[in-house]
């Protein structure tokens, strides 16, 4: 099968997004086992868990570099602006209509997406989609629509079951869904061929799809952090991110500062908590007390130095003033829009999309237009420094936020130390170690 030609413009646009997202927005980007992807020319549906909106798709886009990835995305993204719709279609994205968002009448439009996707598969393309059909708001694997399995089997059917179609489970993970300068991870699993189910599909298509779906979901569950205990989700999530989770990671030979190992440690911790049927009353009280005072758990183990941070922020203030442009609009404009969404999982999407598509290019243009008449080519230096200034500004504001958090911790935190120690001691007893 002929390799799909990827235009120079497509490569340039992808490179630009990679620079902005992985160079400025993310601190570290990890990708594992992309070599497990079937080679280009072999029909492959990449399916993944989905929490962080656009960033999940970008992660896969930046991981797969030997072919053009195709995507299926929520249809309302195509309504943002006609130009944006054209951009998405050009980038290889197709719309998926959902009854909860576009309504029942729009579901028929999915037939076009199915038809084009099946043809793309027949042509040996790789397509990413999210079977949960919408993003979750937590580390949790939800219900899978079987449409992806249907597309895989119908692609095979259209070729007289000659073509072997693969489904590739994958997962994504983040140190934090919100803010920036976080770490991100994409991990691919082992491709699952649907060929062994072809005969079953001919007589019992739904059973075939269910069986494949079960395998796919099991694999994604094993790759990702999947906290199924939703009643105690907040407590479990707090524990894994706290000094308790950090100590657990170290005790089990994982580096808590290295996201891939922290993920494995967190998965182990969550599994152990479920196995031991842990109870979380003390942890819940602790978590609520910390939240009420806006305190951060990490300050208990790494003593805050609010005076030093304040001094540092003051010393760097001149550079922070220089960095206000364009860093302030770069971060605050998207966050202004993100806060208007009821769902806070849109933060990252607004930051990356608005910054990449609008603010960053505009800031370069405006900087040049304003400065060139006065300082000529020296303005190019300022333009070249914009990415570094944006990152610096983020860290400068972090110094200020952390200084404030440090003062708050000094005021309220020590009173909660014994509560924390008691809660952690109780959890260690439940888990069977001290």
């Amino acid at each position: 099968m002929e390799k799909e030609k990827v235009s120079l413009i497509h490569k340039a646009v992808k490179g630009y997004f990679r620079f902005v997202v992985n160079g400025i927005y993310n601190k570290h980007f990890y990708c594992f086992d992309v070599e497990n992807l079937p080679p280009e020319g072999v029909p492959c549906l990449v399916v993944s868990d989905h929490q962080n909106c656009l960033n999940d798709a970008l992660g896969v886009l930046f991981s797969v570099n030997d072919r053009k990835m195709h995507f299926i995305a929520r249809a309302d993204a195509f309504d943002i602006h006609p130009l944006f719709r054209k951009f998405l279609l050009w980038a290889g994205v197709l719309p998926a209509y959902r009854i909860d968002h576009e309504g029942e009448e729009a579901l028929g439009n999915n037939q076009d997406t199915f038809r084009i996707t099946e043809q793309n598969l027949i042509d040996g393309r790789s397509i990413l989609l999210f079977p949960e059909a919408g993003h979750q708001t937590r580390h949790w694997l939800g219900f899978f629509s079987l449409n992806y399995a249907k597309m895989a089997f119908e692609c095979a059917e259209k070729t007289g079951f000659e073509k072997e179609v693969f489904i590739m489970p994958s997962c994504n993970h983040y140190t934090d869904y919100h803010g920036m300068r976080n770490d991100m991870l994409i991990r691919f699993g082992t491709p699952i061929s649907v060929k062994p189910w072809y005969e079953l599909f001919k007589t019992k298509p739904r059973t075939a799809m269910r069986e494949v779906n079960k395998l796919v979901k099991e694999q994604i569950h094993s790759l990702m952090l999947d906290i199924q205990d939703l009643d105690n989700y907040d407590e479990i999530d707090y524990l894994r991110q706290s000094g308790f989770g950090r100590e657990f990671a170290l005790k089990n030979g994982y580096n808590p500062d290295y996201l891939p190992e922290k993920l494995e440690a967190d998965k182990k911790l969550v599994a152990l908590l479920a196995e031991k049927k842990a109870t979380y009353e003390e942890v819940k009280q602790l978590r609520e007390a910390l939240a009420a005072h806006k305190l951060q758990d990490r300050h208990f183990d790494r003593r805050p130095r609010p005076l030093l941070l304040s001094l540092l922020a003051l010393l760097l203030l001149p550079l922070a003033i220089v960095g206000v442009w364009p860093a302030l609009p770069a971060w605050f404009i998207p966050m202004h829009f993100a806060k208007r969404m009821e769902d806070n999982m849109w933060d990252g999407t607004f930051l990356t999309a608005m910054f990449s598509l609008v603010i960053f290019p505009l800031s370069i243009l405006i900087t040049l237009l304003v400065e060139w008449p006065f300082i000529g080519a020296w303005s190019l230096l300022h333009v070249a420094a914009i990415p570094a200034l944006c990152v610096f500004e983020w860290y400068w504001f972090s110094f200020v936020r952390n200084a404030a958090a440090g003062f708050r911790f000094r005021r309220y935190g020590e009173k909660l130390r014994s509560m924390r120690e008691s809660a952690f001691r109780h959890m260690k007893q439940i888990l069977g170690y001290e």
Partner: protein, 76 residues
């Protein structure tokens, strides 16, 4: 009417009739997504003569609630 509906659902969705118990959850039992919702609506229409919308059905959690809905629609 419900007696005709149960085997039709079981056959279409390749499940056992016993799986369609009153307290069984529709979404999980039938792996009901937007496409298969359309199929379920078609079966209900075929077996009962009523024309539910997908929007009506998608929020019904259990088969018991579904049968109550159909009964209610049939009896005005």
């Amino acid at each position: 009417m419900i007696d005709a509906l149960r085997p039709a659902i079981a056959e279409e969705f390749e499940v056992e009739e016993a799986d369609l118990a009153l307290d069984a959850r529709i979404k999980e039992t039938l792996d009901l997504d937007s496409l298969s919702l359309v199929d379920l609506v078609a079966i209900i229409e075929q077996c009962t003569g009523i024309k539910p919308t997908g929007t009506d059905i998608k929020d019904i959690l259990t088969f018991g609630a579904l049968y109550d809905y159909i009964w209610g629609r049939c009896n005005g």
